[in-house]
């Protein structure tokens, strides 16, 4: 589930539960979740680059 979809569903649920005060907190959490996922992507890219470099050196 992407973060935008998550946020839409979470805020709709908060509204349905009578907790509109949760919305700004959920927006803050959404930013943190996006950053967490971006960190994971960055780690994967870093690992892929390291692997590619190792493969390039491996033939020597």
């Amino acid at each position: 589930m992407d973060v935008a979809t998550w946020l839409a569903q979470a805020t709709a649920d908060a509204d349905a539960r009578g907790l509109p005060q949760l919305k700004p907190l959920l927006e803050t959490l959404a930013k943190a979740t996006a950053a967490l996922r971006a960190a994971e992507d960055a780690d994967h890219s870093e690992q892929a680059a390291e692997y590619a470099e190792d493969q390039g050196d491996g033939g020597r």
């Binding site: 949760l22 959490l29 967490l36």
Partner: protein, 450 residues
């Protein structure tokens, strides 16, 4: 017997062992100070005066008969009201109904076996889910240095109880900084040991991955004595570690940790660093890879774990929580399992990053709290001309080491122009809390010589 008010646990222990100070008189003095100041400061939720005096009398009798159990014998201590004490409700600072605990938590049992005299249960940020001590069912805890200010949290009452001489040691808990933050805000010492070292059984959980139990005290030596007693009550009486001999190798982690600091925190931290360098210690700059991910990782571990524990309580007693605490707990229920697992994976990376930063060093050196104790009720604060959220600023320098489990200690390093305390923090190698205490003793000594 000498009519004295010792400044530290070490001094009290020495006088008690020498039979120059009566544990009963010491307890009476602490209880009198609680009686005088607690209504204003709200450090304690429950004061166990009768039991404390009985325990003190028993300690006095044992010592007179030649049975001395060690440094904690006959010494008054306080316990955060998140920790079970048999026969008392563990309120967790909340109006949510609490049953009386049937057993002492192991940490309390260990302190009792060491002969400690427990004077009461201290006030805290509700369910330990906050850094300011102003969301509690028992009245916002006031900072003794300025009663309009927060005492820090969540172990707010624990820190205040020490400053005011209401006890000589305090049991706290630390999930994102809740021992070190109030220690820094109130000008006392606070130790978060290595993860898992001191049992968290019988302690109301906030986030089981991040929760730690540890002592607050008036000095590093005092903290060490409490730490050993909390760990293992059968430890030999003479467990005071010796300070590390010079030179120490210390690393200041940059960037991130020094990026956003109150001006006096920056000045006093620089002063402490300079004092250490003049004292012959080596202080270098190190980097902790991906430190900027700390807050996001912390949120995605602490929120769902807290929400999980509180789900049944929220179902039945939502209206009894402080509104801010309730909303943060509700928020936790929305974190997806995949993002919790992502955060746990990042935790492994961050742990390795801190291990790497510590290679070749005795400890990391950084400020403990980025801002002075904030005004009670404040949700934002000005730092370097920019408005920042109080909660994020309070947690900024401490929460990483809850994620990674490294031991960390906050030590006072002076007062700002506003009269409020500031503190440094030392972070040691995982599994080496005793070594960290040795480093801290040497650092404390050097800072006090400034």
């Amino acid at each position: 017997m000498v009519d004295v008010r010792p400044a530290t646990l070490v001094e009290a222990a020495r006088l008690i062992e020498a039979r120059q100070l009566s544990p009963v008189d010491l307890a009476k003095g602490c209880l009198a100070r609680i009686s005088e100041r607690n209504e204003h400061l709200r450090a304690f939720i429950a004061v166990t005066a009768e039991a404390a005096l009985a325990d003190a009398a028993r300690a006095e009798k044992e010592i007179a008969a030649g049975t001395y159990r060690g440094a904690l014998h006959g010494v008054p201590v306080s316990v955060k009201d998140l920790v079970d004490m048999a026969g008392l409700p563990t309120t967790a600072g909340s109006n949510v109904p609490a049953r009386p605990a049937t057993h002492d938590a192991p940490v309390v049992a260990n302190l009792r076996r060491a002969g400690a005299v427990i004077v009461g249960k201290t006030n805290l940020h509700e369910f330990a889910f906050g850094t300011t001590g102003d969301e509690t069912a028992f009245g916002a805890i006031r900072n003794p240095h300025d009663p309009t200010r927060s005492a820090g949290g969540s172990s707010s009452g624990a820190a205040v109880s020490l400053v005011e001489g209401m006890c000589y040691g305090a049991v706290g808990t630390d999930t994102g900084g809740s021992i070190r933050i109030p220690a820094a805000a109130c000008g006392v010492t606070g130790l978060k040991p290595t993860s898992g070292e001191i049992s968290a059984d019988g302690v109301v959980p906030l986030s089981t991955t991040l929760d730690h139990v540890g002592p607050l005290a008036n000095s590093v030596s005092d903290a060490a004595l409490l730490y050993y007693a909390m760990l293992d009550a059968d430890a030999p009486a003479e467990r005071l570690p010796a300070p590390s001999p010079a030179p120490l190798w210390l690393g200041v982690p940059e960037p991130y940790f020094l990026d956003l600091l109150d001006a006096d925190v920056r000045r006093l931290f620089a002063g402490a660093r300079g004092a250490l360098e003049r004292g012959g210690h080596a202080v270098s700059t190190v980097a902790i890879a991906h430190a900027e991910r700390t807050a996001d990782v912390y949120l995605h571990i602490s929120l769902p774990e807290a929400a999980c524990y509180h789900a049944p309580l929220l179902r039945d007693h939502a209206d009894k929580y402080a509104p801010g605490v309730r909303l943060r707990l509700e928020m936790g229920g929305y974190v997806l399992a995949e993002d919790y697992l992502r955060a746990m994976q990042q935790r492994t990376r961050l742990r390795r990053a801190v291990d790497r930063a510590l290679e070749g060093l005795d400890a990391l050196l950084l400020p403990a709290l980025a801002i002075p104790a904030p005004p009670l009720g404040a949700s934002s604060i000005d730092v370097d001309g920019k408005t920042q959220p109080v909660r994020a600023m309070m947690l900024r320098l401490t929460q990483l080491f809850n994620i990674t489990g490294h031991p960390a200690i906050a030590i006072p390093c002076g007062r700002g122009a506003d009269g409020l305390p500031r503190a440094i923090q030392l972070v040691g190698h995982r599994g080496s809390t005793e070594r960290l205490l040795q480093v801290a003793l040497a650092v404390e000594r050097q800072i006090q010589q400034q």
